[in-house]
Symmetry: D2
Subunit: 144 residues, 4 copies
C-alpha cells in the first residue's frame, strides 16, 4: 500500500471518484512528473540534444501538469470536480503527446523508454477517473 | 514593461494568443498565486481560523493552478493549445470560487480583500485569452 | 524497483552521491510532499481545525521544500552540490519540525500519524545524502 | 505597490526581515522564475540549442528554487528562519551560476540578456535578506 493510499484512507471526508482510483492516479502523476524531470536532464546530456528539443519541451509541460494534478487530487475534502475534470483532460493530452515523442527515442535512449512507460501509466490512471465521472453523469441522467 | 513581457518579446517563436495578452495573463496568474499563498498564511494566523477553512482550501488549489498556468503560458514555443485551453478554464473556475469566498471575509480581513482583487484580475486576463481563442475559431469557421 | 531508480539508472551521466541513495531520497521527498498536501486537506476538514493551524502551516512548507528537493535530485547531469546541500539541510529541518508537530496529533488523527511516518523516512533518506557528502569531504582531506 | 507588498502589509503577524525587504525578495524570485521558464523555452527553439544545454539546465534549477523561495517568504506567520536561510543561500548560488551562463549568450540571444538581468536582481534582493539576518545576529552578540 502506498503512502498516498494510506493518506486518502485516513481522510475525514469522502474521496470523490473512489479512494483506490484517486490514489492510483496521484501515484501515476507523481511517477510521471519525476520521470519527465529526469528525462529532460538526461536528454540535455545526450550528444543528439538538437534532436531531443521537442522531447525536452513536452516533458517540461508534462512534469508541471502532472504535479498540479497530483496536488489537486490529493485534496479530496475541497474537491472542485469541474476544475479537476479540466486538469485531468489537460494531463491526459500532455502525457499522450509526451509518450508519443518519447517512443520515437525509446530504442536509443533507455531514459525515454522509461518515461514513455510512466506517461502511458498516467494516461490510464487519469482516464479511469474521467471514465468514472462519465459513468456517474450517465447514471444521474438514467435515474432522472 | 514587466519581465514577462520582455521575455515574451524576446522569444524566437511567435506567441500564440498575442504577446501583450499572454504577458498580462502570466503576470496576473503569478500575482494571484502569490496572493493566495500569503492569504493562506494570514488566514491560519487569524483568531477565526475555523471560519476560514474553506477560504484556505480554495486558496491552496488556486495558487497551484495559477502557478502551472503561468508556467505553460511562459513557454510559447511548444504551446499545446488544447491543454492550455483546459488549464485556462480550470484557472478561471478556481479563481472565481476563490474570489467569491474571499469576498465574504474582505471587510474584516484586509488580506482577503487583496486576494479577491488579484483573483478577479486573473479571471479577466485568462478569460481574455479564452475569448481570443473563441474568436479565432469563429474566424476559421467564417473563412471556410 | 521504482520509476525514479529506473530513470536514474538510465542517466547518461554519473549520479552524484550514488544512484540508490539519490533514488531513495527522491522517492522519500515525493512521498512526504504528497502526505503533507493530503494532511493539510484532512486537517482543514477536522472539527479541531483551530488546534491544527501549526500543523497545517508546517505541512505547507514541508510539501514545497520536499517537491523542489526531489526535482533537483532528479537532475544529476547538472547537479550543483552546494545548492543541493543547502536544500537537503532545509528539507531535513522542515521535515523534523513537521514530524514533531504531526506526532502531537497522531493518536487522534490517523492522517497525521501517516504524515509523521513519511516525514521521518524523508529525514532519514536526505540525511543519508548529507552523511555521504560529509564522508566524501573527510576522505578528500585524508587523501591530501 | 505590488500585490506582494499589499499582502504582506495585511499580514496579521510580523514579517521577519521587514515587509519591504521580503516583498522585494518575493517579487524578484517570481520574476526570476518566470524569466528562467521562458528562457528555457526560447533556448530550445534556437538553432544553436546544443550550445545552450548548460543554460537550459541551470535555468530549470533556478526557476524551481526561486519558486519555492518565493512561497516560503510569502508565509511570514510560520517562518522557519533556519530553513529560509538555507533556501536563500541556495537561491543566491543558483541565480549567480545562471546569470553567469546567461551572460555568455546575452549578446546573441536577447532572452538570455533579460534572464541574466532578472537573476542579478534576485541575487541582490535575496542577499539583502541574508545581510539583514547577519546584522541581526551581530547585534544580538553585541547586546550580550
Amino acid at each position: 500500500m502506498t503512502t498516498t493510499r494510506e493518506m486518502l484512507d485516513a481522510s475525514p471526508t469522502a474521496v470523490p471518484f473512489g479512494v483506490a482510483e484517486v490514489a492510483a492516479a496521484v501515484d501515476a502523476c507523481l511517477d510521471c512528473a519525476q520521470a519527465c524531470v529526469s528525462d529532460v536532464d538526461a536528454d540535455l546530456a545526450e550528444p543528439d540534444v538538437a534532436e531531443m528539443r521537442t522531447c525536452i519541451a513536452l516533458c517540461l509541460n508534462c512534469a508541471d501538469v502532472c504535479d498540479v494534478t497530483a496536488r489537486l487530487l490529493s485534496r479530496p475534502a475541497q474537491c472542485d470536480r469541474f476544475a479537476v475534470d479540466h486538469l485531468l483532460r489537460a494531463c491526459v493530452r500532455i502525457c499522450t503527446t509526451c509518450a508519443e515523442e518519447c517512443a520515437r527515442h525509446a530504442d536509443h535512449h533507455p531514459h525515454c523508454a522509461v518515461c514513455e512507460k510512466t506517461c502511458r501509466a498516467c494516461i490510464q490512471a487519469c482516464s479511469a477517473l474521467l471514465d468514472a465521472e462519465a459513468l456517474e453523469e450517465l447514471q444521474k441522467l438514467g435515474g432522472a
